[in-house]
Amino acid sequence: MARVVTRQHKVIATIAAWLVAFLIFFPILYTIITSLKTEPEAIAGFSLIPSGTFENYITVQTRNDYIRPFMNSVILAVGSTILALIIAIPAAWAMAFSPTKRTKDVLMWMLSTKMMPAVAVLVPIYLMFRDFGLLDTHIGLTVMLTLINLPIVVWMLYTYFREIPGEILEAARMDGAGLWQEIVYVLTPMAVPGIASTLLLNIILAWNESFWTIRLTTTTAAPLTAFIASFSSPQGLFWAKLSAASTMAIAPILILGWFSQKQLVRGLTFGAVK
């Protein structure tokens, strides 16, 4: 009897999980479907069956070059992620392995900056960017993306590093490893999964960031988010083309996410410590 109940629960839970996953994925799916419709079809109302035209993709590509914003997205996402890791790894390292009484407060303070609405600092930041000549530059936007994601990167790395049991590092010390050997042969290999997951997540966050990328760029440094936005304003709305542009913008990151999903969910401890 108990068995049957658990089985039922399992089935229900599985169905629920699929349902939630589908709900979350549906907007993306509908975007892709819409991108395959003609403009009249797109505004005609809800329908899941497109006429299957690729015309929108061609129009989007001819009207507005895709390659350049794509390259900008890559530069900004990868650049800001590497910069963030360079700053965050030593920071998280210090906080995880030699914490002080204030470590927790510093972490909370860093996170609290994420609770502030971005619009609140839009004007000062815009003015600063303008005065320093950073508007629509790769360097300016890379720094901006680094700064907004840094708290999350530090937090993630800190939690990963804290999972590394201190006794393993002590064992290495007993085994004759110097500080450098300890870092190279023991610490880093154990931290790599954590660093990799952080790197991937941050690339995704930076790729999708749209508040600052749209407001601080025009053309030279404009990434795919700005590319999508450019289809929504001056000439009125073109749902199908907008959808095609969106699909093209999210495709790379969806593919990256798909291939790295194992890495993204992978934990840190492999069973060295019981």
Partner: protein, 332 residues
Amino acid sequence: MGSITLNKVSKSFGEAKVIPSIDLEIVDGEFVVFVGPSGCGKSTLLRLIAGLEDVSGGKIMIDGKDVTDNAPAQRGLAMVFQSYALYPHMSVRNNIAFPLKMAKVDKAAIDQKVTDAARVLNLTDYLERRPSQLSGGQRQRVAIGRAIVREPSAFLFDEPLSNLDAALRGTMRLEITQLHHQLKTTMVYVTHDQVEAMTMADKIVVLNRGNIEQVGSPLDLYSRPRNIFVAGFIGSPKMNLIEDDYARSKGAKTVGIRPEHFTLSRDSGLWSGTVKVAEHLGSDTFLHLDVDGIGHINARCDGEFGARHGDRIFLTPNETKLHRFNEQGLAI
């Protein structure tokens, strides 16, 4: 060689003085066990010897050489941790080889030593596995293998068996004892398991709040505890400590009687009491008694003693085996 000398060693963590001042002599080849209640500073003392913590005062000598300011690696000791602390990303082979690689031993010699260690520890079939693919006992053997390949001058163990189940603990206990007979290397072993302490040690060091209460051979501590603390700590079930009239009649503040030092009878005896709980182990019987005018008493007798909850029985303490303690808790 592996003699270790502690000279007025003390340790504080900030304000907290965990170890006030300890003098201790560990002779080369000895199996020394540190026991004591949780939080008394056993691990801290071991880590001071290992060099994983810096002393706040005093000196540590290994083989007559002052190593107080030396890094762990320079002390020539090996440590086995309670959590095993294996390198999760390395195979068993590489785990065991790691200290040799750090010591820049050449490849052929490493292979030879790893093979030998694996044979001694029954790990030959597991050399290519990761630690996560091993059972608890196997993991602990890898940790021991990693320690023995370096041929250290002494081994330090911090509760190495406490994560294992009872049966495996028994087997591993024997294995470590045999290893000690084979290698004849100094071993310092922290535990709070009575059986481990009594069976493995050449010398037991009883610690309490960072102080040494007594040092001696297991049977020494068992039959001649220096004070009430040691009397109560060594031996399981615990020694009965009796105060008041009976103690005064023996000219002491407190009298200690081990559970096995009673003669039990159904008909007659010095004291009478009611059985609260009877534990029948087959080989022994443990009785928890409520003795008239005395209070709670643990008694133990060999073989089966057919008493049940609520039975009235008589018991007589063996007067020649009494332990007497004065007002300060010291043995008289």
